[in-house]
Symmetry: C2
Subunit: 224 residues, 2 copies
C-alpha cells in the first residue's frame, strides 16, 4: 500500500489560486523556519523590535547570519535603523514569549516601541546601542556587512557579522553545540504556526561506506 | 531570581576558538533550520541527491525558494547539475529517513548516486528530468531563476521558482497551510541535530491593540 496519497499541484493551479491560499501554501514548502526577534534603535533613540522567520546561518568564519526583508511597511523600521546605525541584535524566541513575539508583526507607528506594546523587556550590553530582549536565552549583536538586493521579488538579503553572543550557559555543550531545545526555542511552519522541538538524535559526520551513528547531546561520547 | 545565567562570548573569544568549536557554536545561532534533500540530474543522466539545511522561503508571488551553497566538493555536483539542466527538486526530510538523508553528506564520487548508496528511491514526474525522493511526503520541482554570489564568504544564494508540488493530501489544510508536523518533517539545529516538532498553536494575524488568538490547525475556526 502506498504510504502517501500525493496531490499534484501544477503551475496552472498555483497561478490561479486565491492569493491568501497560495501564500499559506508556498510558505509551507521550505520546511521549518527559525523564530527570531530583531532589535534595533534609531539615531533618536527610539527602539524597534520585529519578528522574522527568515534568519539563516551563512557561515562560521567569518560568523555571518542573514535574513530577508520584504518591501513591507511593518518591518521597514528594522531595515532603516540597521542602515542608520549598522547594528542590530537577533534574539531567539522561546515558548515563554512566542505570542508576544508574534504580536510585534502588528502595525505600530515609528514612534511606538514594540517592546512596550508587546510586554517584552529591553536590555543592553556595554558598548552597544541596539537593544536585546531580556526574555530570550540566546541572543547576539551583529554589525551590518552587506545588503544584497533580490530583484526577482524586490526583497533584500541583509547580512551581518556576529560580534558578541549572550547565551544561557546551561545550553552550551562541550563541543560548541548550543542545545536550543533546552532553551525551548520555537520553530515556525507556514506563516503562523509555532512549534516546540523534540530531538531524535545528533548524528556523527557522514562518511561513505558506513551509516552515521548517534552522538550524545554534548557531542562528546557515542550514545549506546 | 534571574531566569538565565548568561555567558557573554565576545569577538576576541570568538576569534580565538578552535575552528570546530566555533563552527558548532555559530551554526546554533540562527535557530531551527529546515531539512531538505535536493535532487538533480546531469546531462549524462547521472542523478545526485544532497542534504541542505539552508532552504528558505523567499516569496509567494512568484513562488521563490532559495538555498545556500558553499565552496564545497560534496555539494558541488548539486550546483553543477542545476547550472546544466536549470531544474531541481526539493524534498522535505521526515523522521522515517533522516538518517539516510544525513548520509548523503558523505563524499561520494560524481559517478555514484546517493540514491543508491543511502537506500532512498527515485521517482519522476512527467515532463521533468530531475528525480524526486519517493520517501518524502512533500516535494516540489523548481526552475533555476538566479544565482547570487555572496562575496563575503564565497557562497551563493541559489534561487528557484516552484512549478509543480507533490504533497500528501492529508497534510493540506483548508486555508492552504500544509501541516508538515503531520508529515513528521524534521527540523535541524546546529550542524547535526535532528528534531521532530510539537505544535504550540497557530496564531491569528497580528493587530495593534489586541493580542493574537489561537486559530485551529486548518486555519478556519477559532479554537476554544
Amino acid at each position: 500500500m502506498e504510504k502517501y496519497k500525493l496531490k499534484h499541484i501544477n503551475a496552472l493551479t498555483l497561478g490561479s489560486m486565491p492569493d491568501r491560499f497560495r501564500t499559506h501554501l508556498i510558505n509551507s514548502l521550505s520546511g521549518f523556519k527559525s523564530a527570531n526577534l530583531i532589535g534595533t534603535i534609531n539615531a533618536q533613540g527610539q527602539t524597534n523590535l520585529a519578528m522574522f522567520s527568515s534568519v539563516i546561518h551563512l557561515g562560521a568564519s567569518p560568523a555571518l547570519v542573514g535574513f530577508i526583508t520584504r518591501p513591507d511597511s511593518v518591518i521597514r523600521h528594522t531595515l532603516e535603523n540597521i542602515k542608520q546605525t549598522k547594528q542590530y541584535t537577533i534574539n531567539q524566541v522561546s515558548e515563554d514569549f512566542y505570542i508576544n513575539a508574534h504580536q510585534t508583526s502588528a502595525r505600530y507607528l515609528s514612534d511606538e516601541s514594540e517592546f512596550e506594546h508587546t510586554g517584552l523587556t529591553e536590555h543592553y550590553l556595554d558598548g552597544y546601542s541596539a537593544p536585546f530582549v531580556k526574555e530570550s536565552g540566546l541572543k547576539y549583536v551583529l554589525t551590518l556587512r552587506q545588503i544584497i538586493p533580490i530583484a526577482l521579488n524586490n526583497t533584500q538579503l541583509v547580512i551581518g557579522e556576529v560580534t558578541d553572543i549572550l547565551c544561557d550557559e546551561k545550553a552550551i555543550r562541550s563541543d560548541g553545540y548550543i542545545d536550543i531545545e533546552t532553551l525551548k526555542t520555537v520553530a515556525v511552519s507556514g506563516l503562523d504556526s509555532y512549534h516546540l522541538s523534540s530531538r531524535l538524535s545528533r548524528l556523527s559526520y557522514a562518511k561513505a561506506g558506513t551509516l552515521p551513528t548517534n552522538i550524545s547531546v554534548d557531542g562528546n561520547t557515542i550514545a549506546l
